[in-house]
Symmetry: C2
């Protein structure tokens, strides 16, 4: 079918022509309802009249940024990469990816499992909900998706095939280059300029060339380091969660990039939440749980990544018989430590960009009280700076916790 | 035209159907002669009967390794990448690239300028010929091709387009991964095993896990660092030269990889030649010229690369207004120093692989006297080890010369 933008009526017509959808709903009558949380895309909940629990999500990309309108063009091919990434990640570890019932690159459309019993993790964390299984889940997700799409696991040709499939995601990579690594650290029209103009902390940041030079190293890594298939935007708003289950959604920024970028995105968002609780709720117990969770996420990620690697006897990188066991183990541990280091660097960039850049996070920009918001911003910039200036010297997750705790 | 393997007769028939070739030779009668220096491909000299000076080279890839035969299949698409690289490099700096008159990806064929007044540089250097303009030429070639195909110069989307064009060169990348970074440092059937078995130095190398761990870092960089479009096999056998001109040929290994790999390949081959003269001719004056040339190549490369960069006010990496001039200059100098460091590391791998690996160099493996050859091998391994163990601490080209000179 040739591309056309669907609405609440035509989405039903379209879906009724798809075998898999027909099978899913059987003889039920189906209805669609637009649900409004997509900044970029149109999202519909499609459900059975007879059994409202039986539901799917239909998500379609339009050739512009939905929340702004047609005057902000953004190629709808971003959905192509979301479809491919959902498929790839599902094949690696289905537990953490919504099951796709139908997808069409031509229509820039994906139809998948409706996660009715889960909420956006960011909201849960703001409300102080502890997700005790999260560190276990997300460390498995990250280590498995990153390891099994890297040159440590894939053959040389399979890796290049994977790169081919995602190399075209230029527009969203460019958004990250600009909006994460550049504009938030200089005078720019895209910034939250109401807050920036005549703000001495913004001025200080924009003139912190020591910091910005290190950011440039990390930006260069983002642009040129082809480690593994990334989610590309792994913040707590891309995670649907409840006490028992964790789902990672919205991988439209997926591309083959540096290992540390996904881990760093998550780390940044957990720390931003910690800052929120420092400044707003002052809930010491929840803060303690957050710190513990950060430590567990990082340590379990390292352990599992190493474990997947140890299970592989031969790889494109290290052919069987090249190294002895002892050196091999030393090499792998050093390699994984470097992933964590880069993650800390990327986390610093991601935290700092949320302060004055175009897309703030609810935990900080959402604070109504101006004084408290200023306090949170300062804290975020302080931790971000420590992360960026010292990431390449970090040795343990405890050192990361120390930076976070000592920032006040 | 559908692909078919051409011979000395059908190559003429084919070329007569090509407008550009007809224009080149006018009404002359043309003849073809096979010239035998291709390991991988068929190479014909096509010239005018009336004016033998008027000549072109026709080079066709066959779907196997020509020097071994059909039992060693190697996809003929390697010529696709050679054609694309010749075109790309010629557009950047035509002075150092043979002019292409006709090319066909379908036919895996390229027809280009015949370099009748030039010889393979390796032969000239073995015979002690000093090429006084070489450092000037090759430093321009390397700095221009690497800089202008990198994320430092290209927009984000042009860079990804470039990657798309070369990402398919999987087979030759895999050859390098195996034959440069892995097999020459372990027991393997592809090695020069006559020389390896019961050779204590080979045994020592194969068990030097400290060295091999560092080689693995460099191999990983080769596999995943997408800096710029590389020649991919820039040794002195890929350079045609005379006193006044320098041409870089045979870029079939071209792909988007780490900056230091081309510079390192050249460095390794100049040092191998130095070792030859240490052991065989003992020509102190020529050795001194070689050392001076190595220094000039590296220093001029750095200067020119920096100069191209300074001329660019805005880039995908560093948008205008992001850094102040002072920090920008510090950043760029540090960046270029890191290219030189990586080059030294890659040079070490490339030197060491030539000792016992599948493809030796004339300067060392070609030494008839077993004792002298052993001496040359030992020297090569010693310098290679110093390079690989210390590359990430190198600060100046003089330190590189010290390693080379002190190896005896």
């Amino acid at each position: 079918m040739n591309y056309k933008v669907l609405d609440v009526n035509s989405v039903i017509e379209y879906l009724l022509t798809i075998k898999a959808i027909e099978t899913f709903f059987g003889s039920d009558t189906i209805k669609a309802q637009e649900i409004g949380d997509g900044n970029l895309n149109y999202v519909y909940k499609v459900s059975s009249e007879q059994d409202p629990e039986k539901a799917l999500i239909a998500k379609q990309a339009v050739p512009y940024l939905r929340c702004v309108g047609e005057e902000f063009p953004l190629s709808r091919e971003r959905m192509t990469f979301e479809i491919r990434a959902l498929d790839k990640f599902y094949k690696i570890f289905p537990n953490f990816i919504p099951k796709v019932q139908h997808s069409s690159e031509e229509m820039s459309l994906v139809v998948m499992e409706y996660l009715g019993n889960h909420i956006i993790m960011r909201e849960g964390l703001i409300n102080g909900v502890k997700y005790t299984k999260f560190s276990e889940h997300i460390s498995t997700y990250m280590s498995a998706t990153l390891f099994y799409t890297s040159s440590l696991a894939l053959s040389s040709s399979n890796k290049r095939e994977l790169m081919d499939k995602f190399n075209g995601n230029t527009e969203l990579c460019k958004l990250t280059e600009d909006l994460v690594f550049s504009f938030p650290f200089m005078e720019h029209e895209t910034n939250d300029n109401e807050n920036v103009t005549s703000n001495p902390n913004a001025k200080k940041l924009f003139e912190d060339f020591e910091f910005k030079e290190k950011v440039l190293d990390l930006k260069y890594k983002f642009m040129t380091q082809s480690d593994a298939l990334l989610h590309g935007d792994l913040h707590t708003g891309s995670i649907m969660i409840n006490k028992d289950e964790t789902y990672v959604i919205d991988p439209e920024f997926a591309f083959v990039g540096p290992f540390g970028f996904d881990v760093g995105a998550l780390l940044a968002n957990l720390v931003n939440n910690y800052i929120h609780h420092c400044v707003v709720t002052k809930d010491e117990e929840f803060k303690e749980w957050l710190l513990q969770t950060i430590k567990e996420v990082l340590d379990k990620f390292s352990e599992k990544f190493l474990q997947y690697w140890r299970e592989l006897k031969d790889s494109a990188l290290c052919v069987s018989g090249y190294l002895d066991d002892r050196t091999s183990e030393v090499y792998k541990k050093r390699f994984v430590k470097n992933i964590i280091r880069d993650s800390v660097g990327f986390a610093g960039c991601k935290m700092a960009r949320r302060v004055y850049g175009v897309a703030g996070v609810a935990e900080i920009r959402g604070i109504q009280d101006v004084t408290l918001r200023g306090e949170a911003e300062e804290l975020a910039l302080k931790i971000a700076r420590e992360f960026v200036m010292n990431y390449d010297k970090i040795n343990t997750s405890d050192e990361i916790l120390e930076i976070i705790k000592n920032a006040r």
